[in-house]
Symmetry: C2
Subunit: 399 residues, 2 copies
């Protein structure tokens, strides 16, 4: 890595950079974004599900308003904050004020600003293992002490968390992707949501409930958010998976004092978001009849693709993999039961024209060597079938 190799110490980068590095897997996946490779590795929504025409109309309309081209307010375009407050209110079942919402540059920025607002170097942060890599990176950049807690088919193992707390750990915050977990695909169960909130109140830590996928349920909606159970929860969500990533509209919702601190830090981070894309998001998120139909379409398409992928995997691998059922989101997680190292499999798979993300990419340490995250959202059933056939061929070639 080049980041500590400056000639002359006076030009060296900050110590924070020494703990950060681009992952070898990310680099490999970047190199393999060739058109002939079917990628199950991405975390993108399906491009054909993005309402480009509707966005174009909203952009034209927004640009009639001179405010759409100027600097905006740091915590976000006021009508968008109101729309988000109403949206969050419906989910947590109590009133949400506009000043409890900050619009951010994707929910990733909310995560990054929260880490800076809440964490001093060395403080403990509980993360899920396997966990969302964007969160792990942010907490590492904040020089936090990362404490892993495992997941099972019901999401984060809150009993394991309680044992760690009982043994003396006092984390500053706990991060969870409660709905359709990235990378595990699972949903935190309703009893565990209540349990996690109870632990936050008892032991005095913040919860970041990171929820970009909650609307992408297939059969029934996910349980009420963790935030319904405690005011120590800061909820993050985003328009990226339901409208378009290019709007770069995410948000956080929670304690007003945390929102004020995030706003203050955001002034320095980027002054404000885009008035243009925030006006577009406000129009589309505020048009409930249209949005409802749009979400139904995404749910139908993604659930069909999930079924296709799971069926193909079952047919090709049988009991050589364990796979959980999938109830929403964009990802399924498999674990090889035959000892296959998925980082080794990836190289063979890319050679045969299919890519995925090995489990080790989501591990805090050296775990999850037999796991893999497969995204079903961006390919047709036919392509997913072909992808699994290639994966099976790569797997046979290894054996």
């Amino acid at each position: 890595m080049p980041f500590d190799s400056f000639p002359g110490s006076s030009l060296a980068l900050s110590t924070r950079m020494a703990g950060l590095h681009s992952s070898a897997i990310r680099d490999l996946l970047t190199l393999t974004s060739r058109p002939e490779v079917v990628s199950l590795a991405g975390g993108l929504p399906a491009t054909e599900m993005i309402p480009a025409e509707r966005i174009s109309q909203a952009a034209t309309r927004a640009l009639q308003d001179p405010r759409a081209v100027q600097y905006g307010e740091t915590p976000g375009w006021a009508p968008l904050r109101e729309t988000v407050a109403a949206w969050e209110c419906e989910r947590i079942g109590r009133r949400v004020e506009t000043d409890e919402v900050v619009v951010t540059h994707g929910s990733q920025q909310a995560l990054s600003l929260l880490a800076q607002v809440l964490l001093d170097p060395g403080e403990a942060v509980v993360v899920e293992d396997p966990g969302y890599t964007g969160a792990l990176q942010v907490f590492r950049a904040a020089q936090a002490q990362l404490v892993p807690v495992a997941l099972d088919e019901n999401g984060m193992d809150t009993a394991a968390l309680e044992r760690v707390l009982a043994s003396g750990l006092r984390p500053k915050l706990v991060h969870t992707v409660s709905n359709f977990h990235n990378p595990r695909g699972v949903v935190l169960s309703a009893p565990r949501r209540a349990h996690l909130a109870h632990l936050a109140d008892r032991y005095g830590f913040w919860i970041i409930e990171d929820d970009p996928y909650g609307e992408l349920w297939f059969g029934t909606p996910a349980p009420v958010p963790v935030a319904a159970h405690s005011d120590r929860v800061i909820r993050l969500s985003s328009a990226s998976k339901v409208l378009a990533p290019a709007l770069r509209v995410g948000w956080l919702h929670g304690d007003r004092r945390v929102c004020e601190a995030v706003e203050l830090l955001k002034q320095g981070a980027d002054l404000c978001g885009s008035s243009l894309t925030q006006q577009i998001a406000a129009e589309l998120l505020g048009d409930r009849p249209w949005l409802s139909g749009h979400l139904d379409t995404i749910r139908t398409v993604y659930s069909g693709r999930a079924r296709a992928l799971l069926g193909a995997l079952e047919g090709a691998f049988g009991d050589r993999i364990a796979q959980a059922s999938v109830h929403g989101g964009m990802f399924c997680w498999i674990e090889f039961t035959d000892g296959t190292d998925t980082a080794v499999l990836l190289e063979a798979a890319v050679g045969r024209g299919v890519a995925f993300v090995p489990g080790s990419a989501f591990a805090l340490g050296s775990g999850h060597a037999h796991g893999a995250r497969l995204c079903f959202a961006t390919n047709s059933a036919q392509t997913l079938n072909e992808a699994v056939a290639r994966l099976a061929a790569a797997h046979r070639a290894l054996g």
Copy 2:
């Protein structure tokens, strides 16, 4: 301030937040954004100079391309990086590679990421006094030791900087707004640019050459950038003042290793910028015949407004103020020679329907009590005349 008042220390904000607070002046100016107040306080470009129609056409065109709605590459939309590299090359007079450019969420994000990439807490940063408040805030958030150097009509006093260096200070970086300074309006002279670059090479520090206003020259272009004299310079610029703030397109250009580190930190900060607004910026910045005419129009309009403001000030205040001549940008700086405290004047002025930013808002300590920054960009000559009449009335009322 509410940021250290959480019940229970485990919920307290990070120590970084203790050093940050919203300024009283910012709060006052927010409260006085009533339509009947003529604001000379803003830092916005003139809304009527923003090519909304052209942006709308570019948006419609960009949205034909499915890539415009998806996640983009972290360092920016490749054609925009190429356009910026060509733009920077023309200015510094040597070849600029695409991987020496990172597109950021406004140049403020470049500043914020650079502070995190380059600075450890306690390291010294030289800033201009009075200085750009967005830079002061970023360096404070990085817990740097801020060392002020004064400006005169030729920009940063590099002889004073040299004395500080000779006495033993070893800053990690020096921040300068080289062209049409915010708030002072002045231009760093050509000899001082060479001198500053020489000092960076001799004493081993980074220079951040923050240049959002460089294209807004009235008579003749500013001297070649500091970056033309040394490769220890990281140049920042932006589409906000020449196209539209709402695109949130800024950039940094400099050492490839710094760019790589910024890219790595940007992954965690917000994943990527907006593919949509970056495609719009690429089209408009790349259309040189159109851009050239557009910039000529802005220059003509702003220089006319600057003349109107300076003339009105001269007529109303005579030698009770000192004012430098203005050769570009958006701001003029005045200093009262009669002992007027501009923070006191602001309150009286707002009561009479005119606002400006008192000099103390840009000071590191308690300085610049008699200074004021007036923005001429956003009001017509007629309105500027009225604003100065109101300001003069407020000044008389104080006396």
